[in-house]
Symmetry: C2
Subunit: 467 residues, 2 copies
């Protein structure tokens, strides 16, 4: 391929995913998942090249055949051998860096960095080097390179060395770990990560707290000494917003809430949550809060249903399977305890079905978004945008989006089941005027920044970099 691109977007997943079909040919399997789906319309029409991982042999074939090219983008995939990719993606990115930035480690026991991790880190370095080579090959002189997420922390330094002419901007869609969290990583990994990030022209975050944590890492003596330079890169806050046009289209096409679900909820009030089944999402404490609500405020029994729409996630990690089974067990226990012939207190529904979520967003009375730590949380923005019922938002103060939405939401400490139960009680009991007023406030806050604003920020900042 001889494309020479002025704009390159880098993410682990590409816009489409493929599987092997008849005669060993690649067949379209679906979209690339959350972030890629969000990026696609933002990158479309910009004559960009999108570089992603080959998640499978089918992805590789599809990309080589140009089948991944959508909306006028050229999609190029980087293919690593399966072991290298597994170690870089599963072991380092998902089971270590994700945990680190979200403060998910059970520190008395995990992580336990041993000789196997040394190999895994080498694989992560190798994955970053392969991407750096591909970018260097494809980028025009002075091109803009927008790098997404913690999978590619080392690209900054690598590209600074090989292609100092490029305008590189890294954006972290997760939180960024506090200095104490970074200090958990093996010393060489923490320092390589911070050095790698320091090579970008700019590093962006969804919320002031994540930017502050990032900056602080460069001001801690021990981490800084390891990082060598001690000079923090330019960093900025640019939260993502919803895509109003796409959401309006989805709403217009909605055929309404699933009839089976409609029967279960009936005339009752609806508390909704929509998440990946993910340790950071705090599904279990959400269930306990609902249980405490039914215990402490029995007047809500039989008058409210909690619907949890959940998407399976990372089921190759044992920790995630265990978490899913804890969630299911808790749902069963609470339903056994309070359920009646005509009332199922909690509906836990596992299927990756966007239209089902959109219909539920339109109808909820209360949306519960209670992550223990979350880069932004787009559910907290899409829900209030789509809702047609003056629904309320109960939102964790540990979600990046809280900084923007706090004046319209019920803020909660996600570790505090009692405060969460009280917020649900407060939200369910609002009178009509208050509900409408809060819903208006939320909608105004949500549309204040759209997805395009986020993309324009990236490009503006890239353009302003001195090279």
């Amino acid at each position: 391929m001889a494309t020479v691109a002025d704009l390159i977007v880098v993410s682990n997943r590409g816009p489409l995913s493929f599987q092997l079909g008849d005669e060993g040919r690649a067949q379209l399997a679906g979209s690339g998942g959350g972030l890629a789906t969000t990026l696609q319309p933002l990158v479309a029409g910009r004559d960009a090249t999108w570089i992603a991982s080959s998640m499978s042999e089918a992805d590789h074939l599809a990309a080589s055949d140009g089948l991944m090219n959508v909306d006028g983008m050229t999609v190029v995939t980087v293919r690593l051998d399966a072991d290298t990719y597994r170690m870089a993606y599963d072991v380092v990115s998902n089971a270590t860096l994700w945990y680190c930035h979200h403060h998910l480690f059970d520190l008395p026991r995990r992580p336990r960095f041993d000789v196997h991790f040394v190999d895994a880190w080498d694989a992560y370095v190798s994955m970053n080097e392969s991407f750096a080579d591909e970018i260097a090959r494809l980028a025009s002189q002075g091109a803009t390179v927008l790098v997404q997420d913690y999978h590619f922390a080392l690209l900054g330094k690598l590209l600074e060395a090989s292609r100092p002419d490029l305008r590189t901007v890294h954006f972290t869609h997760t939180p960024f770990g506090d200095p104490s969290a970074l200090r958990v990583l093996p010393a060489n990994c923490a320092s390589e990560l911070l050095e790698g990030m320091a090579g970008f022209g700019a590093c962006g975050f969804h919320a002031p707290r994540w930017k502050a944590a990032f900056d602080a890492c460069y001001h801690e003596d021990d981490l800084t000494a390891l990082a060598g330079s001690g000079v923090a890169p330019y960093s900025f806050v640019a939260p993502l917003g919803p895509d109003p046009v796409a959401l309006e289209n989805e709403a217009a096409e909605s055929t309404g809430i699933d009839p089976a679900l409609e029967r279960v909820v009936g005339e009752r009030m609806l508390i909704l949550r929509v998440d990946r089944i993910e340790l950071s999402k705090n599904i279990i404490r959400g269930l306990f809060a609902f249980e405490e609500l039914l215990d402490e405020k029995p007047e809500w029994r039989d008058r409210v249903v909690m619907v949890a729409l959940a998407y399976p996630s990372r089921e190759s990690l044992a920790d995630y399977l265990a978490y899913r089974s804890e969630v299911e067990h808790t749902v069963e226990r609470i339903n056994d305890r309070f359920g009646t012939d005509s009332w199922t207190p909690i509906v836990f529904n596992v299927a990756d079905d966007r239209s089902r979520s959109v219909a539920a967003y339109m109808e909820y009375d209360v949306l519960l978004v209670n992550p223990v730590r979350d880069g932004l949380n787009l559910v907290a923005k899409e829900g209030p945008f789509l809702n047609r019922n003056d629904g309320s938002l109960v939102l964790s103060r540990e979600a990046g989006a809280f900084d923007e939405l706090k004046s319209g939401a019920f803020g909660i400490n996600p570790f505090d089941v009692t405060e969460t139960a009280a917020a649900l009680h407060g939200a369910l009991g609002l009178d009509r005027d208050e509900r409408a007023e809060r819903a208006r406030t939320l909608k105004k806050l949500v549309v204040a920044r759209t997805a395009s604003d986020w993309m324009e920020d990236q490009l503006r900042i890239a353009g302003s970099l001195e090279r």
Copy 2:
């Protein structure tokens, strides 16, 4: 009691503990445990009043009868009803604040603050109020009050209100949690804790990092806004040191290493660890590091024995029992894997026996102190002081003592088993001159500050407070 004291020391445990004996009389059961044992000689001879909890009915009887008075001190105990004490001590102090300051929570699952915790917090408030009342009753005008540890965070504000004439100094023997860790607590608890601490004349810590974390809590918008005042109290760093005279006496009285242990170790080198069985002590990763050493450097097989002298701790908490069984299981597995008829790789010995520890301190080749987070760690100071074998110290960078000892110790990241194994290898393989040189450096660093220096700092700072 009509004592009016110019110096009051406050700690949860008193210098002695009692049990009920014949005819319901209190009989001496033993010392008050780590901190109380350290404090006792420092307080002796100062005509002080020591206020502690009645841990049992026997303690209460003993204190009332004056049986707790030792070394010229008057010991007064505060008696709470059993439920209040259990909730304040087990639930709040040990299972919440200890975990918070040591970053021990498995955040996706624990803590889960619910209605029971609301009651437990009330008990903690009540315990602090009872102590405040007792102090106010016993303290002379302008008296100095030295308050020990996280059990009494609220005393500052309470005493400021009732007895503004007092010179109050709080000392935290644990680490202090980062702002992110404090934010895990229910909002009212975090703010009451910070407000409570802000009422002390001064707050002391063992290491600069804990002081920095404490100060930072008062500069975070959300925590500060909750704390009300937003004004950080005066804080200082004053690490505790060993008591050289007491240690020399213990060494002089030592009858040498236990013969049974001597037979197991024989001519082999000795890696020693001495800890409470406590989640923060990181015993399991220490065992894994020893296993990695035997795997990666097989030349050490049959040439070294790891001796872990462990003291049972907090066995009323299920988490601690589970941890102990994980430790025991890991010891068995490694011994099964590598042990021979003539070599037991790991000796795990559970008994609270100080003279056994002293003898082992005198003999070790390598002392392993690898906590995940630790206020100071006095083992890391007492070991090098007592050792007669030019032994080395492998020390966690997350222990408060690392700040003082780093130029003499092998520093490790406690989460990094590979780095720990490499440090053990390096320490075992030092040549005689290097060993001696490092051991001299360590001894010099250790005696640079003694326990008396620490006590003098408390009194000097108390004396300098404007009242």
